[in-house]
């Protein structure tokens, strides 16, 4: 009797918590979107998305986010180009080749890496990486704060996360699959490429998507080291202003209820949409893995 009562109150509590969380989440969505769409009273959706002219404080203000979007895409893209191959090598080493000691040592380093606050990483990029870039690529670099700098810092941020997920995916492949391949006379490299990686595919895709999502949403690092220039970059050494850093940099000074204010909220909606799509894909992958 007593147990039943406890069970019932637990159920009520859990339901209530779940309800509250959903209300909060949908509340955030609602306010963001309802503020965001008001920008379209003054700017057409087409100009907002496809114009690269972002001059929110000019007399003749313009609110095209294409350059900001290009900033986000270029920084994210270059980060993936750096972090995915490196991450794969690390994950494969950790899952298949490392002895216990080297495994623990490397894991420890990654844990330390994961704990670095992004503002610290930003400071490091601001002070040292920018100088290093200026010194080593003097012909290409006109500012040390650029796509390259941001991508390097974001790679440090994303790597621990990505490596852990890929290693888990590789370890989740049943041991007997690996043994079956080796027992046929396959070497370890062949077994990794023909058996382990294909069977870990959905877990790996999941890792890439979640990692990308995280990189897109990261704000402090890009605010500090991406350069902040509203331009569509033509090289990896151009400065950019990703979506997140536009919001973080401008939100503090914007006049409430102005077009600029609504435009920043709309940028938030765009970010939210990107992240929702990625999360849904990741959830779908996870489910199909279960089959």
């Amino acid at each position: 009797m007593r147990r039943k009562r406890v069970e019932l109150s637990a159920k009520v509590l859990v339901t209530f918590a779940a309800l509250l969380t959903s209300i909060i989440v949908f509340g955030i969505f609602y306010f963001l979107i309802s503020d965001g769409v008001r920008v379209f009273g003054r700017v057409s959706p087409k100009d907002f998305l496809f114009s690269a002219r972002w001059y929110p404080t000019y007399e003749d203000a313009e609110f095209g986010i294409l350059a900001l979007l290009a900033g986000t895409l270029s920084v994210t893209g270059l980060t993936l180009v750096i972090a995915i191959p490196l991450g794969f090598v690390c994950a494969i080493f950790l899952a298949e080749f490392s002895g216990r000691k080297s495994h623990d040592a490397i894991k420890y380093i990654f844990e330390l890496m994961a704990g670095i606050p992004s503002v610290v990483l930003g400071s490091f990029g601001l002070k040292y990486v920018s100088r290093w870039l200026m010194e080593h690529f003097p012909l290409h670099v006109w500012t040390g704060l650029n796509v390259m700098n941001a991508s390097l810092m974001l790679s440090i941020l994303a790597m621990p996360y990505f490596v852990t997920l890929v290693e888990d995916a590789l370890r989740a492949v049943p041991r007997d699959q690996k043994e079956a391949s080796l027992a046929l006379g396959a070497n370890m490299t062949g077994t990794i490429f023909r058996i382990l990686l294909p069977q870990a595919r959905s877990g790996i895709l999941n890792a890439i998507i979640l990692g990308t999502n995280r990189v897109i949403g990261e704000t402090m690092v890009v605010l500090m080291v991406a350069g902040g220039a509203t331009m569509v970059p033509s090289t990896i050494f151009d400065p950019v202003r990703p979506l997140t850093s536009a919001i973080a940099g401008e939100m503090g000074e914007v006049e409430l209820g102005s077009t600029h204010y609504f435009a920043l909220f709309m940028i938030g909606v765009v970010l939210l949409a990107i992240s929702t799509v990625f999360t849904l894909i990741a959830m779908k992958l996870k489910r199909s893995k279960g089959k």
Binding site: E179, A180, A183, A186
Partner: protein
Amino acid sequence: MEDTIFVIDELNVFYGEKHALKDVTCEIPRRKVTAVVGPSGCGKSTFLRVLNRMNDLIPTYRHTGSIKLLGKETLTMDAVSLRKQVGMVFQKPNPFPKTIQDNVTYGPRIHGVKNRQRLKEIAERSLKQAALWDEVKDELKKNALNLSGGQQQRLCIARALSVEPEVLLLDEPTSALDPIATQKIEKLIEELSERYTIIIVTHNLQQALRISDYLMFFYVGELVEFDTTEKITTNPSDPRTSDYLRGIFS
């Protein structure tokens, strides 16, 4: 010697401190069925996995002594070429989650066979040898995981045969199967012993008696007795063997 496949001399195996096989010395006859029996934990799987060096993957594993395969020392030879000659089938059927055809051509492809016609021939030959061809010949492109447990295990045998080994190691290959599937595999083992050396670990003593020509009896890491199945069943020379045969420990 033409009639001997493995010559094993003073083989000792350790997992860390654990002495898993003690001074095993024997000669395993070629193209016969040798059954490895003994109580649980006595080292049967360990013995089998030394023969194709599958245990090399375990960090704490060590061995001393010598195992010669047709005159060549296996413990120092290249593991890849050893495993090509000594195939293995596991307790739980473990086909790759690929098509039936891809399962039986995986081995040949990693060893460099590219010609598609040739791969097809190998697939057909292996599946025929494993008595699976008639059941799957029209659905070679189907995923192997759709087969029944017994069919999957015969596919695993076909997969092992696809690289034309000398020896087939089987570790309790029927323990996960129903009686009818078990019977099919036992019959298959008898047929295969004309061309291959078969070494099979089994917990089922009746099975060992039905299918084996020779019997190895292990007890806590020691090879207690090794002789023809007939000799051991009629006149065992060690009291531990006769206790085991009478079902005193299992």
